[in-house]
């Protein structure tokens, strides 16, 4: 496993928590982790970005054009961070906007073999009764992708160990719900496929639940 991942969103959306979960999951698998995150003033509702690299040496930041995965909790922040992705990279974006990404950008991403999956994680989290769980829902969603670098079980394990004990059950549920929401047709497809007519809506197809969360 050799991964560069960038996680973006708005201060308060729980970017740091996702970073902790992913680094803990990687550590538990015996991998070398390095990354860096935004603290301080931007945590008051500003743009927040975390970089995380697994088995990539000692430099903490991801260079533009080299990330394997982008996790975005906000569509505008996703746009700003798309430049981090390498050719063939994958993005998972929390958005309810049916027009994300814009047709021009979708076309450019297709040329570079970049795939974008979208989920309205806010809506899923609200249905779970806690809008603050959108971050974990999106992570669950991403971990449903067979090519996501972290095995889903490793993330489930990290959710059981990281964060406030009182919130762990809720996090587990959010993760499972996001995981179940993934289907290979959620969101924008690769260049040769047509754009799905109804991009990722909740509730989506649940083809993958058999793998168990």
């Amino acid at each position: 496993m050799r991964v560069k991942i960038v996680i973006v969103g708005v201060g308060g959306q729980g970017i740091l928590f996702l970073t902790r979960l992913l680094s803990e999951a990687a550590r538990a698998l015996g991998h070398e982790v390095i990354g860096t995150e935004t603290h301080g003033m931007s945590q008051r509702g500003g743009s927040v970005i975390s970089h995380l690299k697994v088995n990539c040496g000692a430099a903490p930041l991801v260079r533009r054009g080299t990330a394997d995965v982008l996790l975005a909790l906000d569509p505008d922040e996703a746009y700003r961070a798309l430049g981090f992705l390498r050719n063939g990279g994958v993005a998972f974006v929390n958005t309810g906007r049916p027009d994300f990404p814009s047709p021009e950008i979708a076309a450019r991403l297709s040329e570079r073999n970049i795939t974008v999956y979208t989920l309205n994680a806010d809506a899923v989290a609200s249905e779970l009764g806690s809008p603050a769980l959108a971050n974990v829902v999106l992570l669950g969603f991403a971990s449903g992708h067979p090519g996501f670098p972290w095995p889903h079980e490793a993330i489930v394990g990290a959710v059981k160990r990281v964060g406030k004990v009182t919130l762990r059950r809720a996090n587990e549920r959010a993760l499972a719900q996001g995981y179940a929401a993934f289907s290979p047709t959620a969101g924008l497809l690769r260049q040769e496929s047509p754009r799905s007519p109804t991009p990722s809506r909740h509730p989506p197809a649940r083809g993958d639940t058999s793998r168990g969360a």
Binding site: H39, R63, R64, G83
Partner: protein
């Protein structure tokens, strides 16, 4: 044992493993997580036990910790880079006096800057103060250096600076955890001549300091924190990189497949610089590129820079963080100029342009939904006309978004500058209102001398102390008003009112800023006081707990926006609660229920009365 730690946690761990017994700090991004980590690890079995305090400011913190060192204990003090300005007086003198127990000064730099008012380089400060510096590249190295810094300090009898940058402080990495072994030390202060700074003695101390630094330099030339490439060359391009830049440039070069062709010398001890081995390396290269943050310190100390390119000759941008993107661009240009390689550009220009064309609104930080500061600033704006509004450093700097903050300079400047604005304008007979705003922690940090000075000199202005009971921006550290200390043990609560009165202030009122109407009236009354013949500085303490810290302090008043809202945007501009959002489809303002905290404060923000308490049960 191994754990993935935040860089600051790793530093805290390293200090405890190194036998730290006294730790002090004033919170400041990116340094704030070090002290809590020392407390946490200091409670583990094997630790000798640690006294740790959040001090009133960095100078106080420095001196409290230094006294522990002069008593023979290992002690550390942590701050952000601008905090070092505040502690500078103590630092420069301490280098002359030296230390007894190991003494580590941690000053965290913020190239970017991400959360600071300057991009200053603590290493330059160390050079100025003549204190050796260690510059870690990664959290793992930061932990090892924190621990080793105590040894270094005791070997040479000097304070040692550990200078992490934000990418180390807020980096995350697997870090090995060594077992803790307590040092069997007891504080014992012994009288020594060098502890008393008299000019005659200081001349000799200065001479000796110079000699000691030469020994440190020789020691650093063999230090494992530096790596000088073994290959003989000659090379067309070589690189000297300090701290995080070394890891960044190594990755850039490795990804370009040039690891053999372009050697990197890594410098972990930027001052005193191991000049000899570095100049020997320069001699093996046609050109050497120096990469360091945020300023030129290594480059500055190289005695012959004819083959050297860096910040000083403009090869490296003169300001800003050296992200891998910037490093890639700089290295790529050098490789092309020297004919070593022609790397393809990294950016997807087409994509960048498409995203640029979306004209995404920038997302600046804002006060939290329900923050009492917002209500206070709104009241200040409503209660004044044409006033000068000096501000200060903390969450409430964001009062600038409500146009309620005209100046922000440094900690405590709101009060001294309010006095300065008063005296300057009075010369022209202009007695316009002045309303300064400062937070409770910043007031104690640097506002007290300024207030006593303003009262004494007869300045006339209104001072609003935004008292949310914590140092909120940096993670809710307790202030002197708290009856709890850093480790949770009881402390003596110091009253803000008593401090204000003690500075000679005779007009003082306390208000809950959520009572916007009441606060507007007080702001007006205070201005009247400043104009009275017997008037002077009027102080309003706007007291309300930080809502992010104490959500339970809000009595819920759910609100809704009436259908008659015509989308005039007044509330968005004048009140700018992040939970008030324009719905472009309906053209009306809506409440973002995901982040609204039901404070009910925006009811005052619609002058048409269209934001109203929700009908029961419908929220």
């Amino acid at each position: 044992m191994e754990a993935v730690l935040l860089g600051n946690e790793a530093i805290g761990r390293g200090l405890v493993e190194g036998g730290c017994q006294v730790m002090t700090a004033y919170p400041g991004t990116p340094s704030s997580e070090i002290l809590p980590a020392v407390l946490r690890f200091g409670r583990e079995p094997g630790s000798a036990g640690v006294y740790a305090e959040w001090s009133a400011n960095e100078k106080v913190a420095f001196e409290v910790a230094l006294a522990a060192s002069w008593s023979g204990l290992r002690a550390a003090v942590a701050m952000k880079q601008v905090g070092l300005n505040v502690a500078a007086d103590a630092l420069t003198s301490a280098a002359y006096a030296g230390t007894s127990g190991g003494f580590v000064v941690i000053s965290a730099d913020d190239p970017g800057p991400h959360s600071s008012q300057t991009e200053q380089d603590s290493r330059l400060f160390a050079l100025f103060a003549k204190v050796p510096v260690l510059d870690p590249a990664t959290p793992r190295e930061a932990k090892a250096m924190a621990s080793a810094a105590f040894e270094l300090s005791e070997t040479f009898g000097l304070p040692v600076m550990l200078r992490p940058t934000v990418r180390v402080c807020h980096g995350r990495q697997n870090v090995p955890l060594e077992p803790l072994r307590p040092l069997a030390r007891r504080a014992h202060f012994r009288r020594e001549e060098r502890w008393v700074a008299t000019p005659a003695r200081r001349y000799r101390d200065h001479l000796r300091l110079g000699e000691t630094l030469e020994q440190v330099q020789a020691h650093f030339a063999r230090s494992p924190w530096n790596t000088f490439p073994a290959a003989r060359g000659p090379f067309t391009l070589g690189i000297i990189a300090g701290g995080t830049c070394s890891a960044t440039v190594e990755e850039v070069i490795a990804e370009a497949g040039l690891a053999e062709a372009v050697p990197v010398a890594k410098v972990g001890t930027p001052y005193p610089l191991p000049v000899e081995p570095l100049m020997e390396f320069v001699g093996r290269c046609e050109r050497v590129l120096v990469l360091e943050e945020p300023d030129a310190v290594i480059e500055l100390q190289l005695p012959d820079r004819r083959r050297v390119a860096g910040r000083l000759d403009g090869t490296v941008p003169p300001a800003g963080e050296l992200t891998p993107d910037v490093v890639f661009d700089v290295v790529r240009r050098q490789l092309r100029e020297l004919g070593v390689a022609d790397l393809p550009p990294a950016h997807d220009k087409a994509l960048d342009e498409l995203v640029g064309a979306l004209a995404l609104p920038p997302r600046p930080p804002r006060l939290c939904p329900g923050c009492g500061h917002r209500s206070a600033f709104y009241a200040i704006r409503r209660g004044t006309r044409q006033a000068i509004l000096p501000g200060d450093i903390g969450c409430y700097t964001l009062g600038a978004n409500l146009r309620a903050v005209d100046t922000v300079l440094d900690m405590g400047a709101s009060i001294s500058m309010a006095a300065g604005f008063y005296h300057a304008h009075r010369l022209a007979g202009d007695e316009r209102p002045i309303v300064a705003a400062i937070g409770d922690s910043t007031f104690v940090h640097a506002g007290l001398p300024a207030l006593a000075n303003a009262v004494h000199t007869g300045a006339r202005f209104v001072l609003v102390i935004l008292d949310n009971r914590v140092t909120a921006m940096t993670g809710f550290q307790p202030t002197v008003e708290s009856s709890q200390l850093a480790d949770g043990s009881p402390g003596v609560a110091v009253s803000l009112e008593a401090l204000v009165r003690g500075c000679g202030v005779r007009w003082l009122r306390v208000v809950d800023p959520y009572e916007i109407g009441e606060m507007i009236a007080l702001v007006k009354e205070a201005q009247e006081y400043t104009r009275r013949p017997d008037g002077g500085v009027a102080v309003i303490i706007a007291r309300r707990p930080c809502v992010l810290h104490r959500r339970d302090s809000v009595t819920p008043v759910p609100v809704e926006v009436d259908e008659a809202c015509d989308g005039c945007r007044y509330c968005l501009v004048a009140f700018e609660c992040p939970a008030l959002v324009m719905n472009p489809t309906t053209g009306r303002v809506e409440i973002d229920r995901r982040i609204c905290v039901d404070c009910g404060e925006c009811v005052d923000a619609c002058y048409k009365g269209l934001i109203v308490p929700a009908a029961t049960g419908s929220a």
